[in-house]
């Protein structure tokens, strides 16, 4: 508790409060804008945080991540357009509520549900992280390597495409992570004699290329349809739900919070899967399943709580184990490392102010988001009026600033452009690029663990199965990969 209060002391400086607000605000804006996701935004803004204090930088970037879930709700409810993937389910019942004249109520329930889930998720991080960190400290290199293998297997399984495609992207990311000087012997690897690659493929041009520049190319291929927006209520009174709606939303918010947090803990989990699972659970438990897809309060409240709790849950493996659960937390891990902080079990001992500062900022950020989202919805919706013609040049200019400022080297811009075209081509043909980033960030840690384990065992690979924990992770990886090879039934959402 004392440590958390110390975290609040870190956040309560004017500068950190401002960065928390900027992150939450940007997250909301990004959540509203279809196409421009949190991954792209964090990738673009990452280099701009270099000159900031590490805690401030992570507070701002984290704010973008959890703010997105709030922003995505607005367009889902008012326009049936999910601003980002975790708000897809909200379209089903949130938009139907809006069509019945209950837009304010839907936004209020979603906002309050998101706040409750986000705060409860942060509470869980507060109390779960210290014991979990102590547990992870007992891991040796072989356990760490097998845990990462199981994590990568889980991420590929969750990707939604065929398993070989997902594994291919994971292998691509791992290989990209080996480019440059070997961290142990400094021998140049896979550089093809190109000087620029001597330091490896940097995270920033890779991420900006794969997500920022490829997104601009995608924008060029989409038509700009006229948007139909259901007007939000003018006054605050218009947002209040009826007693019946409030009553029906309480239990789904509670269930969504618990389910979302647990899913968020899993590698490959996070907000998207949490929201879909919560919707399925609510429909299964409902006394009126026929109302789902036609404006059921439960179908809105549960998934909205779940996606926010899932976002919070994903911070636990990142902060306690140094293992990102998804591509966005992989970028946050990259941000930590760029600032010289290694998340993992030792962060609580070595840099407690960073850990608790980030956790405390999440409490404050959630309050900011609640205050921001209800009264300012009308203003946020107007962001959608910005035409593509003015959005894309600005994105390109910011990408240029982001990539160049990373190293002051124009060659990195070339690298980003190459990955921009590659990313566009791969995404267009259904390859999940989130896995590439995740594997790229995990790759060096994975390699170090594998090499340390093999050094200890003098090359005997049996070391990876020497403890019950390693065996457990190996079995989990095998089961997950086996399940992934099993033909999956693709169910279309009803309603």
């Amino acid at each position: 508790m004392e440590a958390l209060l110390g975290g609040f002391a870190v956040v309560m400086t004017p500068a950190n409060l401002m960065y928390c607000f900027i992150g939450a605000f940007l997250g909301t804006v990004v959540g509203i804008l279809p196409g421009l996701g949190p991954l792209t935004t964090i990738a673009i803004l990452l280099p701009i945080t270099y000159k900031m204090d590490v805690t401030s930088a992570i507070i701002m970037l984290s704010g973008i991540y959890y703010g997105v879930a709030y922003g995505g709700t607005v367009t889902s409810v008012l326009m049936r357009i999910p601003g980002e993937a975790s708000s897809v389910v909200t379209c089903l019942d949130g938009y139907e509520m809006a069509r019945k004249g209950r837009a304010g109520s839907a936004l209020f329930i979603a906002g309050v549900g998101s706040f409750i889930a986000g705060t409860a998720g942060t509470l869980a991080i507060t109390f779960l992280s210290p014991p979990l960190s102590r547990l992870v400290l007992a891991f040796g290199p072989s356990e760490y390597a097998m845990m990462m293998l199981a994590g990568l297997a889980m991420v590929t399984y969750m990707s939604g495409g065929s398993l070989p495609r997902a594994l291919l992207m994971a292998a691509f990311g791992l290989l990209l992570g080996t480019v440059g000087a070997d961290p142990m012997s400094m021998t140049p690897r896979l550089t093809f004699g190109i000087l620029t690659l001597g330091d490896g493929v940097n995270l920033v041009p890779l991420a900006i290329g794969l997500f920022g520049l490829s997104e601009v190319l995608f924008m060029a291929t989409r038509s700009e349809d006229e948007l139909k927006i259901i007007a939000p209520p003018k006054g605050l009174a218009g947002f209040l739900p009826t007693a019946e709606e409030a009553k029906r939303s309480i239990a789904p918010i509670g269930r969504g919070t618990v389910l979302g947090f647990l899913v968020g803990l899993l590698p490959g989990g996070g907000a998207v899967i949490a929201s879909f699972l919560s919707y399925a659970v609510e429909r299964r438990l409902s006394r009126h399943p026929e109302e789902f897809g036609k404006g059921a309060v439960e179908g809105l409240a549960g998934p909205e709580a779940a996606n926010n709790a899932g976002t919070a849950g994903a911070f636990v493996p990142l902060l306690c184990m140094g293992i990102p659960a998804n591509a966005i937390t992989a970028l946050l891990l990259g941000a930590f490392m760029i600032h010289g902080v290694t998340p993992g079990p030792t962060i609580l001992e070595r840099q407690p102010e960073v850990f608790w500062g980030v956790v405390a900022s999440m409490y404050i950020g959630n309050i900011m988001l609640l205050v921001l989202n209800l009264p300012l919805i009308g203003l946020f919706v107007r962001i959608l009026d910005i035409p593509r013609v003015f959005l894309t040049p600005m994105i390109l200019v910011v990408c240029l600033v982001g990539v160049y400022s990373n190293s002051g080297n124009a060659d990195d811009v070339v690298v980003a452009v190459v990955f921009g075209f590659l990313g566009f081509f791969l995404r267009r043909h259904g390859f999940d690029l989130g896995i590439v980033i995740l594997a790229y960030v995990l790759g060096p840690i994975f390699e170090r663990s594998v090499r340390q384990a093999l050094s200890i065992s003098d090359g005997d690979p049996a070391i990876f199965l020497h403890s019950p924990l390693s065996i457990g992770f190996a079995v989990a990886a095998a089961v997950i990969l086996g399940a992934g090879l099993w033909p999956r039934r693709v169910a279309a959402p009803r309603g």
């Binding site: 495609r165 292998a171 200019v397 600033v401 267009r428 043909h429 259904g430």
Partner: protein, 176 residues
């Protein structure tokens, strides 16, 4: 574009594209394997710098081969769809897409040779005037606006490094 054309094109297109992508990745895996085979895999102190890249490149090549033979189901992207572009949209936006692609190349070349301001203006003019068909005035004004935001916001206030030419040097010598 007729409805039958639309119906006929999409199923075949992504499958072919997936195979082309897999073939390209197989080539990359081969290059990676070739480079990493020359590195020491085991030394006096244990695993060498080549061990992990060889293992990964082998798995990468094998998986690329599997996807080349059996492309499988496409993944959902962050937007929640498979980003498959229909034939009609592709036809309508082909010219625009080419200009957007060109603007990316201008970004890469401009960063190295002409600095931030001129690159920003060139990219904006390409997109606003040529890809989106707005007036020259709108294109140049917006380009100047983007450059000003970058110079003042990022370069001056946030002190971020920008690709420099005589324009940036002159501006920063005045304000910094």
């Amino acid at each position: 574009m007729s409805g039958s054309d639309d119906a006929a094109t999409p199923p075949a297109q992504p499958l072919t594209g997936s195979r082309v992508a897999a073939a390209g990745l197989l080539l990359l895996a081969g290059l990676g394997l070739w480079q990493s085979m020359g590195l020491e895999r085991w030394g006096i102190e244990g695993p060498g710098p080549g061990l992990f890249p060889v293992m990964v490149a082998l798995v990468f090549a094998l998986l690329a081969l599997v996807v080349l033979i059996w492309p499988g189901r496409a993944a959902a992207t962050e937007e929640g769809d498979t980003d498959v572009i229909d034939a009609e949209t592709r036809q309508r936006t082909r010219a625009g897409f080419a200009i957007y692609s060109l603007s990316l190349l201008v970004l890469a070349v401009g960063a190295a040779w002409v600095g931030f301001t001129l690159t920003s203006i060139a990219v904006s003019v390409l997109i606003v005037r040529f890809a989106e068909g707005r007036s020259w005035f709108a294109a140049i004004a917006y380009g100047l606006g983007c450059a000003a935001v970058g110079l003042v916001g990022f370069g001056w206030l946030l002190r971020v490094d920008l690709p420099a030419s005589f324009i940036e040097h002159a501006f920063f010598s005045l304000v910094r």
